[in-house]
């Protein structure tokens, strides 16, 4: 027990670390912004699985031949093996143009396995982004309500801070790496929100249980209790995140290209989620709960 690393006592370091990451994320956000995908931006997006290293000029020429001029920087190379080209057009392509693209792709890139073409008009783009933001906020609200009923509001708020922290880190990483943000990214954020709170609740559940057995009378008692709870659930926390990471990492490297970014978001979010539920959520709760404790009974049990 002595050799154990005291997490709660060192909480300020973790708060500082997360604070620095958040500030950096915010800077990345402001500097780069999101690279919005077709779901959020009006226009067309053509994704071609070429199954050979992408030659940007060759792709550009192909579109030139069928009378479509690709805007500057409109071609991005994606995929684990850099064998996928994503081409953007500000205008909405017609079905005839799409048919032409499919034909031209077959001729120019014989190894290609076809194209995925999406067109979205501005109304849908706006509606989708609004829905996405609302669903994250509403999901958080419902989770707060549930946790407040099953636990207490301080747990709920600490848990929400941790999950927003995770969602924010994933968004910063995507802004920083200029990765495309589409509808599946929103699904990933929502999964992370669900996972992060899931992970946090298991630890809170142990704290709640330990609180029932031993009533902490001083702040150091409380610190000790939470620290004990964290270590009691540590192997579960680690084993679970490793399991889910096994799935996410395997899918990232070998899964379908369309869920590539989804899995990257998941990996970042899972690591952040496991970190935040141990090092942020519970210490935050201790700091908050402890402050009230010290106020109510300061002289009897000096911390």
């Amino acid at each position: 027990m002595n050799a154990r690393f005291n997490i709660v006592a060192r909480r300020r370091w973790f708060f500082l670390l997360s604070g620095v990451i958040t500030v950096l994320g915010l800077a990345a956000f402001l500097l780069f912004g999101f690279n919005l995908g077709a779901d959020f931006r009006a226009g067309s997006r053509v994704q071609m699985q070429l199954n050979e290293p992408v030659d940007v000029q060759k792709v550009r020429d192909m579109f030139q031949q069928i009378g479509l001029s690709v805007p500057e920087g409109g071609i991005t190379v994606a995929g684990t093996r850099s064998d996928m080209a994503v081409v953007r057009f500000p205008e909405v392509l017609t079905q005839d143009q799409i048919a032409k693209i499919n034909q031209a792709e077959k001729q120019t890139f014989p190894k290609a396995s076809g194209a995925d073409v999406r067109t979205v008009n501005p109304i849908v783009a706006q509606q989708t982004s609004r829905k996405a933001v609302w669903s994250v906020l509403l999901a958080s609200l419902f989770i707060v309500a549930y946790v407040s009923i099953r636990f207490e509001y301080r747990f709920a708020i600490s848990g929400i801070v941790a999950l927003l922290h995770d969602a924010f880190i994933v968004m910063s990483v995507f802004a920083l790496l200029r990765l495309e943000v589409d509808l599946t990214f929103v699904a990933a954020i929502l999964t992370i929100v669900g996972y992060s709170i899931n992970d946090t609740i298991v630890i809170f559940d142990r704290i709640r249980e330990n609180l029932r057995i031993a009533k902490p009378r001083s702040f150091s008692d409380l610190e000790h209790l939470v620290d004990k709870s964290l270590w009691q659930t540590m192997s579960r926390s680690i084993n679970t995140v490793v399991t889910v990471l096994i799935a996410a990492v395997t899918l990232y490297f070998f899964g379908g290209q369309t869920i590539h970014n989804f899995n990257l978001a998941l990996i970042v979010g899972l690591v952040s989620g496991a970190y935040s539920s141990i090092f942020i959520a519970s210490p935050l709760w201790v700091a908050w709960r402890g402050r009230q404790m010290r106020r109510s009974a300061p002289e009897k049990h000096p911390a």
């Binding site: 396995s113 076809g114 109304i123 669903s135 999901a139 929502l190 899931n198 889910v244 096994i246």
Partner: protein, 469 residues
């Protein structure tokens, strides 16, 4: 529960207390276990013991057998999304106007009209659904002429007959709106291509719903021309030769010179007018081989991920890990069964949610097994540890899964398309994992533990020594 202590049958030998390692797991010691207690068991006890163990093996056999035997059959019943099999998705906005507001019935009528049109195209298993209150999503799988499909779905063959028309300055014919005689809505949906018996001309047959109407028109315009407009352009201006009382007629024109063009128009006429105009607002187009490549890659990756998780659980929790793995097989099978039964369309994000669900199903087992290890460390017997661990873990599992389920429900509520597919898969995963990872694996674990075939906590992933505290 502590009365089990006195039986001494499955009790760990005390005295192996070692300081706990930082990870909270007991460090292994060289000490060995003596499990000779059970060899002295009564005959009846031994009987029950092997009975339970056989039941345990039977459950494993049933799960594996059922899965191996029928899962391929089941897989065929799963409908795959466009992103997995290729195809084409269109999202239409139903356009209402102040003088014709959109009603729920009107929206339903639009969906029905689109269904009729899509069926005319003859593509396999189209999906047509109303999204929100004023959008219609149409999904067509496979390969076909996509431009044609889009035209047939979204366009109305706007056929109008006028008694008078004039040519404007550019030579374009403009109808005299006041002399509108009939529209496509007056026709029976049985138009087809035919050849005029006398001239051999390609024509499209028309039949009026009300023969009287056609009779009145032909009477009034006998020996006079009428002007037939298609989509605002003059198609033909025949002169009425005789009064027609059977309601049958035919049209032809320069744009209807081929049988294909005639068939095309006949199809559009038969589909009838849409109750409201539609506007295409979004489309997705996935090449079939691309979809197949995605499906293959994701399935292989998913299989690899699941195999790795199996091995991970076995290494961590040994026999209990094996039980978790069997429960996982049951989970996957039940999820597929639910998908097939509820006709859920499996999309790529949905497939990802399934594999993620595997992680969450395993989590329920991990929570339980860690609890059991805690109980063992507290010095309880294996059997009472298993019972207490299961009981204590249940509340944690319910609370943590409920929160994730809430996130899934909100996604379903607000999401559309892909997000919905993901949310449905997530919610089904959670419910099924509660059945398998909690109920099934708990039953199996209790059967196994009570059979007392093995008594060492090692089989449950606890260290060889049991920490007393």
């Amino acid at each position: 529960m502590d009365d089990l202590w006195t039986t001494g049958r499955v009790q760990a030998r005390p005295g192996f207390g070692v300081p706990r390692a930082p990870w909270g797991r007991a460090r292994r010691t060289a000490g060995h276990y003596l499990v000779d207690g059970e060899t002295r068991g009564l005959k009846t006890k031994r009987h029950r013991k092997w009975g339970r163990f056989l039941a345990f093996l039977a459950v494993i056999g049933a799960v594996i057998g059922l899965t191996a035997g029928t899962s391929m059959q089941l897989w065929k019943h799963i409908s795959l999304g466009l992103d997995l099999k290729g195809g084409f998705e269109l999202l239409y906005q139903i356009q209402s106007s102040p003088d014709k507001p959109l009603t729920p019935d009107g929206a339903k009528a639009v969906v029905q009209a689109i269904e009729l049109r899509v069926n005319n195209l003859g593509t396999g298993s189209p999906i047509i659904e109303l999204e929100g209150s004023d959008q219609v999503r149409v999904q067509l799988a496979g390969t076909f002429n996509q431009s044609e499909a889009e035209r047939v779905i979204g366009q109305t063959a706007d056929l109008k007959m006028y008694g008078n028309a004039t040519q404007d300055k550019s030579g374009k014919w403009v109808p005299d709106e006041k002399t509108l005689l009939a529209t496509g809505a007056d026709l029976k949906p049985n138009s087809r291509w035919a050849q005029d018996p006398t001239t051999g001309q390609n024509v499209v047959t028309l039949e009026f719903k009300d023969p009287k109407k056609w009779q009145d028109i032909t009477t009034k315009y006998l020996q006079k021309p009428i002007y037939v407009f298609l989509n605002g352009d003059l198609l033909t201006a025949p002169t009425i030769q005789s009064v027609m009382s059977n309601g049958q007629s035919e049209i032809y024109g320069p744009t209807l010179s081929t049988p294909e063009a005639c068939n095309e128009l006949a199809k559009e006429l038969n589909a009838g007018a849409l109750p409201y105009p539609l506007k295409l607002i979004s489309s997705t187009n996935v090449g079939p081989s691309l979809g197949l490549a995605s499906l293959k890659a994701t399935l292989w990756a998913g299989a690899a991920a699941i195999l790795l998780i199996f091995l991970f659980m076995l290494a961590l929790y040994r026999m209990a890990g094996l039980i978790a793995d069997v429960a996982l097989v049951a989970y996957l099978y039940l999820v597929l069964l639910t998908f097939a039964g509820m006709h859920v369309v499996l999309t790529l994000p949905g497939l990802a949610a399934l594999v993620l669900g595997v992680g969450m199903a395993v989590d329920a087992n991990i929570i339980t097994y860690e609890r059991i290890k805690d109980e063992l460390r507290n010095g309880k017997s294996v059997q009472s540890s298993v019972i207490a661990g299961n009981k204590r873990a249940l509340r944690t599992i319910i609370d943590s899964n409920a929160t994730t389920f809430i996130a899934g429900a909100v996604m379903y509520w607000f999401g559309q398309g892909d997000i919905r597919g993901f949310a449905v898969a997530l919610m089904i995963s959670i419910v099924v994992s509660m059945l398998t990872a909690v109920l099934l694996s708990r039953a199996m674990l209790l059967l196994f533990t009570k059979s007392g075939v093995v008594a060492r906590p090692w089989w449950y992933g606890a260290g060889k020594g049991v920490v007393q505290s």
